[in-house]
Symmetry: C2
Subunit: 196 residues, 2 copies
């Protein structure tokens, strides 16, 4: 069954070892921030710094593992119709909208959405790691190191599939940041293999 994440919102759910999570961009150019924790010990979480180090690349795609802060593999990417995702940037947040967008009455962003849905599982806001930002398109200038947030390369129906390598707690959003989504807030669809 395909589930819907409404624009600018988020969900949390368990994903058991061996299950697959398909994240779908139903309309195109929409980012989904994904975080994952060891279901049985949420002190272990996805780590951008470990995953990039072990993959020796910043853009992960089919076949690449996502490691934890304890150097265990939490997820593996098993299908990917887009091939461009970000693993450098923190989830958008009220503070980010103030600092980068100059917004006086900011949305709580993916960070606030993740904090809200993860709280019942005992995950504190401080423990939310740099997300794997599905479909987010952040080119880097190799000379200067400058980064730019550009519209996602995903078109309607594009997707990525992750396979859980241990029992996990997942947080997943339909991203709330204008620049990341070509200034249109759209839903995200997802499906867990083998469940209604």
């Amino acid at each position: 069954m395909i589930r819907v994440i409404a624009p600018r919102s988020g969900v949390a759910f368990e994903l058991k070892r061996g299950e697959s999570l398909k994240v779908i961009d139903p309309l195109g150019e929409q980012v989904a921030d994904l975080v994952a924790f060891n279901r049985h010990d949420t002190g272990e979480a996805i780590s951008s710094g470990r995953s990039i180090d072990y993959a020796s690349k910043i853009y992960l795609t089919t076949g690449d593992p996502i490691y934890s802060n304890r150097s265990s593999v939490l997820l593996r990417i098993v299908e990917d119709t887009v091939g461009r995702h970000d693993f450098l940037l923190s989830p958008c947040s009220a503070e980010m909208f103030r600092i980068l967008y100059g917004d006086d009455a900011p949305h709580r962003g993916c960070f606030g959405n993740l904090a809200a849905v993860l709280a019942p599982y005992g995950v504190a806001p401080d423990a939310i790691p740099t997300a794997f930002n599905v479909f987010m398109n952040v080119p880097v200038d190799a000379g200067t190191g400058a980064i730019h947030v550009e519209p996602p390369l995903s078109r309607a129906g594009d997707y990525i599939v992750f396979e859980a390598q241990m029992d996990l707690l997942i947080g997943l959003t339909a991203c709330s940041a204008g620049m990341s989504n070509n200034f249109a807030y759209k839903p995200i669809h997802y499906e867990v293999s083998g469940r209604d």
Copy 2:
């Protein structure tokens, strides 16, 4: 007074708001991993994901702030004679030496050194963030996203100076990874302004 961090070791110390920390490469081509926490609430720590987002670049240098996971400025870079540091990669660790170097009896690395020196301050290993890797030289291929660890650009006597924007707990190492230091393990020197 200049203090010495022996090769492949680390230290932790307090840095008060307004004080400056000078990190010196005495012999050249030596990395120092730096982490920082709010001294009064160590749940707040430097954040690569927030700092890169707000700076819109991956290579930070003079004038750039280092933000926390709560979007506060913890440190500001006020001098930098090198201009190339890494903020993508986690501290080297026993697991890293096993996974990337195939080392059967690995050193505990900067991660183990930081965990040991930060433990008396109540910082758990899981809470050690992606470090600001002073002098570490990690070029990125803009097309493929591939990263390469190359020898530091620092020469003997080069340095960087950080100014604390709040009371901080600092962890600092002389990095233990061969590839990061052109395969020579050297000391790091540091000095805190206004202290003997």
